[in-house]
Structures are given as structure tokens and as C-alpha cells.
Amino acid sequence: MTQHEDTALQVAGKTYQSRLIIGSGKYRDFDENLAALEASGAEIITVAIRRVNLGQNADEPSLFDVISPEKYTILPNTAGCYTAEDAVRTCRMARELLDGHKLVKLEVLGDQTTLYPNVTETLEAAEELVKEDFDVMVYTSDDPLVAKRLEEIGCVAVMPLGAPIGSGLGIRNPYNIRLILENANVPIIVDAGVGTASDATIAMELGCDGVLMNTAIAEAKQPILMASAMKKAVESGRQAFLAGRMPRRLYASASSPIDGTFF
């Protein structure tokens, strides 16, 4: 920003210029993912932890051959976990995989059709992971009490959903997001639900510290163009939040003065 300095996003002691976090799922290939990542300006990218394919060609590029863990902050997720136990196990594997890297995205799902978080399992996993010295960015519902509890447990960022994962329905309950923000002392990042640029802007205008998205970019007809749109949307929303919007009025308020009219 030129006029007023914004404070950068800080997560687990590290500073990020971009408030957009993107995923690496659903892209056509790693190259398209990388191009979208570059266009988005994001510095953090989520990855999933899965079994290797035993038959896979050893020469085939892996995700990290294309998206460099030296250049970007890799955020391993626990997607697909339905119990605290599986999520904790996945994080431990991720930490070993990434040579002691402590930052993880915890998500414990409760239901296959909504992919809604299982909050009780999430709380249990968060407690264990914090105890094991992980830096936990936690995906959760938009319940303000649960969000606060996750902060108290010691999560480094709380990430309420805007709408179900991959739904593209936008920020369905902005009032709950606001309630979460009012009580927060850690970054609040909307994770899931964003469908298009204006959704990301709405999240940022509410005062969120960031937005995490995957499908909105990966499933756009032109993912790289959408990644660029999302970069601007997040920046615009942030600036609008800092600028402070005008009050809403029921009736008009003329922009041109009445004084000096000659008719």
C-alpha cells in the first residue's frame, strides 16, 4: 500500500506479505498449479499427505520438484481425516516428511457430503498437536465459541468456513465471522466456501486476516486468471476494511452541492 502502511500477516512468528493462501488440489498438472500460485501472489500453499504409488515412475516429477519448499511455505493438511487420531498421525508424518516443519493445517471432517468439520474431534486433535509443539492452523465451523476455544488451546490461526469445502457458495454467515473476529487474538482466515473474487473481498472487508481457497481457483475455466483476480480481491478487501466503509443509509445523499445551483 502506498498511502497507509498495513501490518503484514503473521502466522507462527513468520511474516507474509500476501493474505491469500491457496491449495494444490484439482489442478490439471503441477505446472498449472505453479502458474496459479505465482499469479495469486500467495506465499503459503497447502498439500495433502497420501501413500506413494508403488508403481510410480521414479523419474516423474513430484509436487516439490515443481513447487519449491524453499520458496513457499508448505502447509500440510489433514484432509480426509475423520478422527483426531488420524489427523494427529497425519501431522506427525508430515513433520517427518518435511524435515521437522511444524506448521500444519488441521481439519477433521465429520460428514462426507458436507465435509463439515467434526468440532469435538478437531478440539481433541488440536490439544494433542499443540502439546506436541505443532503450529496449528485449524479449519473449523463458524461457531464463535469453538473458534475462541481453539485459540485458547494454542492454535496459531483459526480458519472458519465461509461455506462447505468446494461449494463455492461464498460467505454464508458474515455475522458469525464478525463475532469470531471481535474476540480473536490470533489470525482469522476464512477457509472454504469462496467461489469468486467478490467472496474473497467480502471476507477481507469483514476484517479477516486472510483467505484460504483451492477450488475457486482450480475449477475456474481459466485458473491462472482467477488466481490473479483473487490476489486483487484479497488486497481490495483488505484496503477497504482498513479504509472503513461509509455508513449505509436508507435514503439518498447527494454527492453534488446544492449551493451554487443556477436553475
Binding site: 494444490s24 484439482k26 521414479a58 517427518e96 483451492n214
Partner: protein, 66 residues
């Protein structure tokens, strides 16, 4: 001897260390992590880690995900 690797049964030489197995599977190039019977095995000990009949081995990697 028989071990289970990523959910599938495999017959391997009974003298194999974990490192021997990974070499045999051509898994030494990429970034992976290994769990043996539910315990994470640090990369630095792959060579010393002997395998036994019935071992359950998980070999994981990072892939695209949101």
C-alpha cells in the same frame, strides 16, 4: 517373508533393512516419510532399521490438496 506395504502384501528378502526395501522400490529419490507398525521411522535410521515378517509399512508423500 511377507510384509504389508501401503495396504498390499509383498514378499521380500528376509535380510532386508528398510533402506534395502526403499532402494528396491526405487523410493529413495523423492521426499517421503515412513511409518513402521504405526511408528515413524526417522530417515537417518532407514539403514539400521531391520524388517520382520508381518511388518506393516506405510510410505507417504505430499500430493496436491486443499
Amino acid at each position: 517373508m511377507e510384509v504389508i506395504i501401503n495396504g498390499d502384501q509383498h514378499l521380500i528378502d528376509s535380510s532386508y533393512s528398510l533402506m534395502d526395501l526403499l532402494v528396491n522400490l526405487e523410493m529413495t529419490q523423492g521426499q517421503i516419510a515412513v511409518e513402521l507398525n504405526g511408528e515413524i521411522i526417522p530417515k537417518s535410521t532407514f539403514q539400521q532399521q531391520q524388517l520382520s515378517d508381518g511388518d506393516k509399512i506405510e510410505i507417504i508423500q505430499a500430493i496436491g490438496g486443499g
